[in-house]
């Protein structure tokens, strides 16, 4: 129980610091042009990295499991221009079906 509160306090404090450092240091001021060019690609890069690690990583191991089938379903839904919630439900359904059949 004490462990839980240490976890919540340390992770909470670190996350709050990580999120506010940039806005506190340079809030409201323009970024230099070269930096802006780099920042422009931050969203696609980090989202892509989150997608592959959440799909293919299990701790520090690379695995191919039901999540990959789910993501493939999500890719099809995105290509068909389905709304966000449909994409999420299709991916969850594909992964759940794969686990049920396996």
């Amino acid at each position: 129980m004490i462990d839980a509160w240490v976890l919540v306090a340390v992770v909470g404090a670190c996350t709050i610091a990580l999120k506010s450092l940039g806005p506190l240091a340079i809030g409201g001021r323009e970024l230099p042009r070269p930096v802006l060019g780099v920042v422009a690609f931050l969203a696609p890069t980090l989202l892509a990295a989150l997608i592959v690690t959440q799909t293919f990583a299990d701790g520090r191991h690379l695995t191919l499991d039901a999540r990959a089938v789910g993501l493939a379903g999500g890719v099809v839904a995105v290509i068909l221009r389905a709304p966000v919630l449909v994409v999420v439900v299709v991916a969850a359904g594909a992964a759940a079906a794969t686990r049920a059949l396996a």
Binding site: V6, G22, P23, G37, F41, A48, A57, R67, A91
Partner: protein
């Protein structure tokens, strides 16, 4: 998504985030359930969601503890996963004006989903979209956590429902709205490649931060 209006409002942010909030509420519910297995306790789980407000890190911490990992390992995994919020915070900094306390407070509403929704393109972010989307998602995440911790085991194992695959799918839908032009595709693929190839070699979370090296392609002129 219509972004042709010159000045988006806070409620536009809320509207854009509404479908994401439904998914995030479901994730929050799942986190609430998993945090019980991790022995986190109801109040601690809800306070965790209200202060950290970052799903992937919270899930990572809970899963390390559930698997019998140490407290230090759980903290390290969660903090490293959230290390991406340093560059993310930098990216929204020009959009956040006003006194320091206000900038610091608004920065807390930055989470992957609200960040993506408030991106106007070209590295510029809209503070009103961020506020509307951030508040909507915050309510969904904390509210979902509360319900999850209370409803608990009625809901069963989230994996059988495929909820672990729903996470990357949500990010995929967000990514589709972020990739503009061929260079966008190249950096996304490069980022994914860097992250996946580092997974076996460095601690959880670092591959995501390292992937941001791909953004340096943006230094080259058009």
């Amino acid at each position: 998504m219509n972004r042709t209006e010159s000045s988006p409002r806070v409620r536009d942010g809320a509207r854009l985030a509404a479908p994401l909030a439904v998914a995030v509420a479901a994730f929050g519910l799942t986190f609430g359930v998993l945090s019980r297995d991790a022995g986190l306790g109801t109040v601690a789980a809800v306070v965790f969601s209200a202060t950290t407000f970052a799903g992937s890190a919270q899930f990572a911490a809970a899963s390390v503890l559930s698997a019998g990992g140490t407290l230090a390992a759980a903290i390290a995994a969660a903090v490293l996963l959230n290390a991406r919020y340093l560059p993310i915070g930098l990216s929204v900094a020009p959009a956040l004006r006003g006194p320091a306390w206000q900038r610091g407070l608004r920065a807390q509403l930055v989470v992957d989903e609200s960040w993506a929704v408030s991106h106007l393109g070209g590295g510029r972010y809209d503070p009103r979209l961020l506020l509307g989307a951030g508040l909507t998602l915050y309510g969904a995440w904390v509210g979902g956590t509360i319900v999850g911790t209370l409803a608990g085991s009625i809901l069963g194992d989230p994996e059988t429902l495929g909820l672990d695959a729903a996470f990357p799918a949500l990010f995929l839908a967000l990514l589709a709205g972020q990739v503009r032009g061929r260079r966008g595709v190249v950096v996304a693929l490069l980022g994914a490649g860097i992250a996946v190839s580092l997974v076996p070699f460095v601690p959880v979370g670092l591959p995501i931060v390292a992937a941001s090296v791909a953004c340096l392609l943006g230094l080259r002129g058009r």
